[in-house]
């Protein structure tokens, strides 16, 4: 695609990766799949190594990373949204946080530079898992009727408004929620990747056309790389905290 003499690749070429092995099968492995596996390996390595260092009073290195993560999810996610009874979801939420974080962060890892969550696969899978979990929790905590009633007819709303509120709640809680959760993560990573690609291509083109012009887009590229690190962490946090909010909401009738 030629935009102002720029060689900009078709968008699909930025996100779709050729199969490396098992081509054209259900188990075709491409770069995205490898990044997911890398996220598993990194997270497991951190936690298993940290677990082995048990007993040291002052946490250092990997142990510190693992403990900060757990502590962060516990204090800033679970305690803020669900409360002490949400601690049993801590392993799930911690796993989700680290998995999404490491899938995202490859966006800025030199030589790899691709956020795996800019593919819809994991965001939608996790969002559907979350959907199942929070509905299950709601039914278990309040009973099927109670959960439906509290979700569709939120207490404290004037009766007449239920005409408007109930259809909105029905659609938003049971239909839109998993998709908004998935798309929020996916779209943020897509946008971030496009931004970085855009500035990289601009930099290269202007560099080829007399060096000086490349300074501005290159500065932006550096700035945006920093920004995308923030976004990677933030989106992992947002996905996790929204999951906790949904689970908390299903657990307590008053929400």
């Amino acid at each position: 695609m030629n935009v102002f003499a720029l060689e900009f690749p078709p968008v699909s070429h930025l996100f779709e990766w050729p199969d490396i092995i098992f081509s054209d099968s259900l188990f075709a492995v491409n770069k995205t799949a490898l990044i997911y596996l890398a996220a598993v390996l990194i997270t497991s390595a951190i936690f298993l190594t940290a677990g082995r260092q048990r007993g040291s009073l002052v946490p250092v290195g990997v142990q510190h990373v693992a403990e900060s993560g757990v502590n962060f999810v516990e204090e800033s996610v679970v305690m803020e949204t669900i409360g002490p009874e949400g601690k049993k979801y801590l392993p799930f939420l911690t796993t989700m946080f680290f998995f999404i974080l490491f899938s995202n962060i490859f966006e800025v890892v030199p030589g790899i530079q691709f956020p795996a969550n800019s593919r819809m696969a994991v965001p939608i899978t996790l969002a559907l898992v979350v959907w199942v979990i929070y509905n299950f929790v709601g039914v278990r905590a309040q009973g099927f009727g109670g959960y439906l009633k509290n979700s569709l007819f939120p207490p404290g709303v004037p009766k007449a408004l239920y005409l408007i509120v109930t259809p909105i709640e029905l659609v938003s809680t049971f239909v839109v929620r998993p998709f908004s959760l998935a798309i929020r993560l996916w779209a943020n990573m897509v946008a971030g990747h496009l931004l970085l690609v855009t500035f990289a291509i601009l930099t290269q083109t202007l560099w080829d056309n007399g060096y000086i012009g490349a300074v501005a887009p290159f500065s932006m590229l550096i700035l945006m790389t920093g920004f995308e690190i923030l976004v990677s962490v933030l989106q992992a946090f947002i996905f996790t905290i929204l999951t906790a909010v949904y689970i908390g909401g299903s657990m307590h009738a008053e929400h």
Binding site: F15, F47, L48
Partner: protein
Amino acid sequence: MRRKGIRLSFSLLFAMAGLLFFAGPASASGESIGSCVVEKLEHIMEEGHHDDGHHDAEHLFHSLHAEEGATEEEKKAVKKNEDKLESCLEAPSPIIPELSEVIWGGGAFLILFVVMVKKGFPAVKAAMDARADKIREDLDAAEKAKTDAQSVHADYEARLADAKNEASRLIDEARGAADQVRSDLVAKAEADISEMKSRAASEIEASRQQAIADLRAEVAGIALGAAEKVVQSSLDEDAQRRLVDQYIDEVAGS
């Protein structure tokens, strides 16, 4: 043991990183629209051979020339080839997840979740809880030690105060006793003095009386003798003595 674990995990990471570099950005989804069209054309050329020597590719090129006079079958073949070529321009919707990626991503998450729940998370959490417990215990112990120290201090203060009170009581007592002793001594001394004085006075008085009596007797003797000699008369002795005493009293009274 620990080092082994770290080395193992890092070697895994390096292997993974190598693999990712292998699938690096240079090979980004490889094909362009042009290469796709060429590939499809090759495909059409290869597969298009029919037994009758007739070739599908002809229909493709027919469509570039004229459509008039084409049979229904030819039109269909042209349409098929056109569709094949057009598929090169259609990018798959980026929002529809690819099934293989869902399988790998979902599987990866599942594996990670199992590893975390079974091993990673409990180990880390246990270490954190153990540390929290230890810190709590240490704080409790410190608090207890502080309370103990405070009670010991208070005890010490109390005892010190007692000792001070005792000391001042003793001093007061001693002072009182000393005062008592002094005043007793003074009183006794005074009593002794006054007794000695009165004894002395009575002794003096007795001596004086004795002296007076002695003197009187002496004087009376002398005076009697003298008077006898003077008057040469002998008054009876009692009358003489009475006269003399009278005389002395007169002398003493004057």
